[in-house]
């Protein structure tokens, strides 16, 4: 285990940011800390880096107790949401910063900087200043700077949060590929469930200062430990008093056992997908259903038709019935 967190708690005045956090981050993997803003995930990341102190508990990095170590002695690479670039230095000097502090020989530093810039595809920007780069390029520079010191762990705090959707998607794919190449133990914080599901080997869901669930993306999506995890990781709707995913509902044009009968009250088509709103005959909230356009057409569905709904792939999670 590369990072071991035991009993970590942190308060800001009356606000409990983290409460009794226990977590093992496996070596060489990409772990996502996922949760809503203000849930404590960034605080946890900053505690691992030593940029914030825990009120209680211990942090162990690669077997060494780091709880009392200052940030500069933890050998941790940290990437900030807003890049934290050294504006008065060129890209190359930014990347060289950590190496120059370690008093490495000049030619060795230059070689390592070249290697890092090649890794993040910024070779031709070595002599530019951060202000002359785009957001995505600046974040890649920050990543090269953090990786240059060969950190034992790489920590990223909402690394793509300040970028627009398209660049974010590109960088996400690129981070995954980079990680497959470099294999440094990586923890990144995000509030975007799609980002976590797509990139991470392991996801830690954090809400209101507590860990809700730890697992692989598949485990979390298919076997959520709580309604919170279920609803945070994807769309949900209520069917017969239970939370289910809209695409896990089977729509039948004739009666089937254990089903809810209702009328299609809204029909929205988005590309290959059809979203239905079905109002149960017995009353209650409308049920949201997602199916492919082909499925909808094959069943001869249209707005106003009567349908029978039932859950197809019931999640085996322990989630409880929705309170009335």
């Amino acid at each position: 285990m590369s990072i071991e967190i035991a009993g970590v708690g942190r308060r800001f005045g009356d606000f409990v940011a983290l409460e009794d956090i226990n977590l093992s981050v496996p070596a060489g993997q990409l772990t996502a800390l996922l949760g809503p803003s203000g849930g404590g995930k960034s605080t946890l990341l900053r505690i691992i880096a030593g940029l914030e102190n825990a009120d209680s508990g211990t942090v162990t990095i690669e077997g060494n107790d780091a709880t009392r170590l200052p940030a500069r002695k933890r050998n941790v690479g940290f990437v900030f949401q807003h890049y934290a670039a050294f504006k008065h230095m060129t890209v190359a000097r930014n990347v060289a910063f950590g190496l120059e502090i370690r008093k490495q020989p000049k030619d060795q530093v230059a070689e390592r900087v070249r290697e890092m810039l090649r890794l993040v595809h910024l070779e031709q920007f070595a002599d530019r200043y951060p202000a002359q780069l785009s957001g995505g390029q600046r974040q890649r520079m920050a990543l090269a700077r953090a990786l240059a010191i060969e950190p034992s762990v790489l920590l990223l705090d909402e690394p793509f949060g300040a970028l627009d959707a398209k660049v974010r998607k590109e960088l996400r794919d690129w981070l995954r590929r980079l990680h497959d190449e470099v294999h440094v133990t990586t923890v990144f914080v995000t509030h975007d469930q799609e980002e976590a599901l797509e990139v991470a080997d392991q996801i830690v869901v954090i809400n209101q200062g507590r860990i809700e669930q730890i697992g692989t993306p598949d485990e979390l999506y298919d076997q959520p430990a709580s309604d919170f995890v279920l609803s945070f990781l994807g769309p949900v709707t209520t069917l017969d008093g239970r939370l289910v995913r809209p695409h896990d509902i089977e729509v039948a044009a004739g009666p089937v056992p254990d089903s809810v009968v209702g009328t299609i009250t809204r029909w929205t088509r988005i590309g290959y997908e059809v979203r239905l709103e079905v109002t149960p005959t017995s009353g209650g909230d409308p049920v949201q259903v997602q199916l492919t356009r082909n499925d909808a057409l094959q069943r001869g569905l249209a707005e106003g038709s009567t349908v029978w709904l039932r859950e197809v792939a019931p999640v085996n999670g322990a989630h409880s019935p929705v309170p009335a």
Partner: protein, 281 residues
Amino acid sequence: MTTSTLTRVRRRGPRRRARAATALTPAAGLGLGVALIWFSILVMLPLSAVVLTTTEGGWTTFVETIQQPQTWAAIKLTVGEAVLVTVTNVVFGTLIAWVLVRDHFWGKGILEVVIDIPFALPTIVAGLVLLSLYGPGSPIGIDVANTRVAVFLALLFVTTPFVVRTVQPVLLELDPETEQAAASLGASRLTTFRKVLLPALTPAITAGAALSFARAISEYGSLVLLSGNLPMRTEVTSVRILTYIENGNMAAAASVASLLLLVALFAIIALDVIARRVARR
């Protein structure tokens, strides 16, 4: 057709920008004209007049005036004290700005206002305040009247706000995350200050230092009362210039004034060079 229009527009973009760099729009031309006339009347004209008055007396008058022992002593004192005050301000002004921006304490709001008092106070009032505090019969038992310490204190009093006020906004704009980034890369507090903070603050510090130096070599009101204006000891150049004028010796007054002008110019250039050096490091 749409495509060709688009490419044409796009191609015209840079060329138009290039032309804008050399040619001015009517509004910009008017603005530049007003700025130049304003600058000429208010700054260039008086400066040239001083230099012209100096040249009227000829080179020998200039050299003789400067070499006159009492004048030379005044120049040495003024420039020396100004340098000392500026260096003090660079250190303590930066420190005060740091405390005001980074620390939270009771009475910070009051301190923010008090810092500006030397700006707002008429200099002769400042002189009176200093005289009653550090002069004969001082309530705190410190009497520095008629000494060089008095000159230093008076100059320090009126120049304190400069560095504070130039550094403060820059410090406010600095992202604390860059310091955290430096720490995570292994930098100590001192290294972070030297390599990350100082280069970012240097332009502001030198701007404040230039203002502080310029004010110090020209100061009159705040120090005449406390310093006693003793020839060869506590007399500063502004007092010296006034004496020349009172004696009707305009050429000599202009000579000293021109020399001060040169010193100020040299100081500004030197500070600019230092700023570039530090920022590049």
